[in-house]
């Protein structure tokens, strides 16, 4: 058993980042993500890292990309409004295969919405926020423990697959205080760094693996461009084959590893005809509802997603094969439910429990009511 701390989700994220090897953080403060930067402004200088409060989120993501190319594990943290501003830079990071972690603590939108209130309206934005074809890794913690664990994972995936990784939290998981147990042994993945020209910087023989990444400033000639480029980074914007090869590889290095990347809790109760699929703060509502229903002798199966993207179709199918009805509670007007409808078998009835919370979470009782009416 490791050390136990009673701390806030955002602080757990900051502590985990440093343990994962983060040595550069650039962000613009925004509720409900601000505590991450506040804590890192203390932690990073102490370990020789850099904390920079930038003038806005556009500058923040670009600073993070630059730091990553200079060799640092880098992170930023924001909420919906800042995430929207970052999309151009995030697209550039996907295209240039720049490892970095983007923490998004979801709050009520659209636009600046309600600053300190939680929501789940960024489910699709986290996957398709920037234009063009690519694939993204998006992790969704639902507790302080997972704010820690999944931040470590986010860095590991970023380095292993040489890609931006989004940690999609929400106000509840960011601000709640809960016990955190720091594992005694934490696996940390390091970047495969290119030290010569023996392997291309932007192509890989094994499509499931990322190419080695050169570090700027050590003498290797490397071009880094958001435009279509060949295996050495040279712009090649009129060659369909080069573009096809590049984008297909970017997509497949994530999607081809989906089974390795995807994590979820699948709790199938034998004899249960009703299932719930949830993530983040709404999974806590689901836990509450399942508790109430089990006190009344009603068993519910539950799929709780820790990885949102790549989307684990097979897990949804497994639940769908076992139950007649799946309820999808989410703090939005219905995003996750579309993926569930797509991935589940036709015979399963899907019930969408949406809520424009305006700052209120889904109450367990709201899920219980739906079950009672079935």
């Amino acid at each position: 058993m490791g050390e136990k701390y009673f701390i806030q989700g955002n602080i757990a994220c900051a502590e985990a980042a440093v343990i994962a090897g983060c040595r550069f953080f650039a962000a613009y403060p925004i509720t409900p993500a601000s505590e991450i930067g506040e804590r890192l402004s203390e932690l990073l200088p102490a370990v020789g890292g850099k904390f920079i409060q930038m003038e806005d989120e556009i500058a923040s993501i670009n600073a993070v990309i630059g730091a990553s190319w200079a060799g640092a594990k880098a992170m930023t943290a924001t909420s919906g409004p800042g995430f929207s501003l970052m999309q151009e830079g995030i697209g550039y990071a996907f295209m240039t295969e720049t490892p970095c972690v983007i923490v998004v603590v979801q709050r009520v939108g659209p636009a600046t919405g309600q600053a300190s209130k939680g929501a789940q309206g960024n489910f699709y934005q986290s996957r398709w926020g920037t234009h063009g074809d690519y694939s993204a890794i998006v992790l969704a913690p639902n507790s302080v423990q997972e704010m820690f664990d999944l931040t470590i994972k986010a860095f590991n995936y970023a380095e292993e697959y040489r890609t931006p990784v989004i940690l999609l939290a929400d106000e509840l998981t960011a601000h709640i205080f809960e016990p955190l147990e720091v594992p005694e042994k934490i696996e940390i993945k390091e970047r495969k760094v290119a030290v010569d020209y023996s392997e291309p910087f932007f192509d890989s023989k094994d499509p499931l693996k990322a190419p080695p990444m050169p570090r700027l400033g050590i003498g290797l000639n490397v071009l880094v461009t958001g435009s279509t480029h060949n295996e050495w980074g040279y712009r090649a914007t009129s060659d369909p084959m080069i573009h096809r090869k590049l984008v297909t590889r970017l997509y497949y290095k994530i999607e081809g590893n989906a089974k390795k990347i995807c994590e979820y809790e699948l709790d199938i109760n034998d004899g249960s005809k009703i299932g719930i699929i949830s993530y983040g703060c709404s999974s806590r509502s689901a836990y509450g509802a399942i508790e109430i229903l089990s006190e009344h002798g009603l068993k519910i199966s539950h799929l709780r997603l820790k990885t949102l993207w790549p989307f684990p179709d097979w897990a949804v199918k497994e639940l769908s094969s076992k139950v007649d009805t799946i309820i999808v509670p989410e703090l939005s007007l219905g995003q996750l439910v579309r993926e569930v409808e797509r991935a589940s078998y036709d015979k399963t009835k899907i019930i969408s429990l949406t809520k424009v919370g305006g700052g209120e979470l889904i109450r367990p009782q709201e899920i219980v009511e739906i079950v009672r009416r079935l």
């Binding site: 205080f177 016990p179 806590r284 367990p364």
Partner: protein, 176 residues
């Protein structure tokens, strides 16, 4: 499972009290959670700290009703009295909160802020209340509260620890 709402105004250490209580429960091997809410202002607006202590893992951590209400301001008391269970417990700072006569709940009144001012320093009134709560209800031990304080507070540790003892003393005196 015990649900506790601590409320007052910004500056009284409401959030810190909730964190200390939650941490003390964790130290005892229990599950606990704390959710705070406060106004945008640094001081003066109503502040809430909702703590859950449980033997089981906590599913939904938001409080709709509470077993124990601690109120350190009239405004906060008035706004939150409706959330206390009928068989619940209410603890108020009696110089700051006037309670109605006909309450069904058990009401404990304590002059936390005044005693803190006289014996220590005003800002440890929250710890006097925590000591009182722990001694009265045994939801956490005095020892765990002190361990929690030592693990989280860097300034005025002695005053905070003494305030816990003071609260506990007041609670045991009132028993007699």
């Amino acid at each position: 499972m015990i649900k506790i709402r601590i409320c007052g105004f910004g500056g009284q250490g409401i959030l810190l009290a909730g964190e200390i209580l939650g941490a003390a429960a964790m130290i005892e091997g229990k599950y606990s959670s704390e959710i705070g809410s406060y106004g945008a202002e640094a001081r003066g607006t109503t502040t809430l700290s909702d703590v859950i202590i449980s033997d089981k893992k906590i599913g939904f951590p938001v409080i709709d009703e509470c077993d124990i209400l601690i109120a350190m301001s009239q405004q906060a008391f008035n706004a939150n009295i409706k959330f206390v269970k009928e068989d619940g417990i209410i603890i108020v700072d009696e110089d700051l909160v006037k309670t109605p006569e006909n309450l069904k709940q058990k009401v404990f009144k304590i002059r936390a802020t005044k005693i803190a001012e006289e014996k220590f320093v005003r800002v440890v009134a929250n710890m006097i209340i925590l000591g009182y709560l722990a001694e009265k209800t045994k939801i956490v031990s005095i020892d765990s509260l002190k361990k929690a304080i030592k693990s989280r507070i860097t300034r005025m540790i002695e005053a905070n620890l003494a305030a816990i003892d003071e609260g506990a003393k007041l609670a045991s005196e009132k028993e007699i």
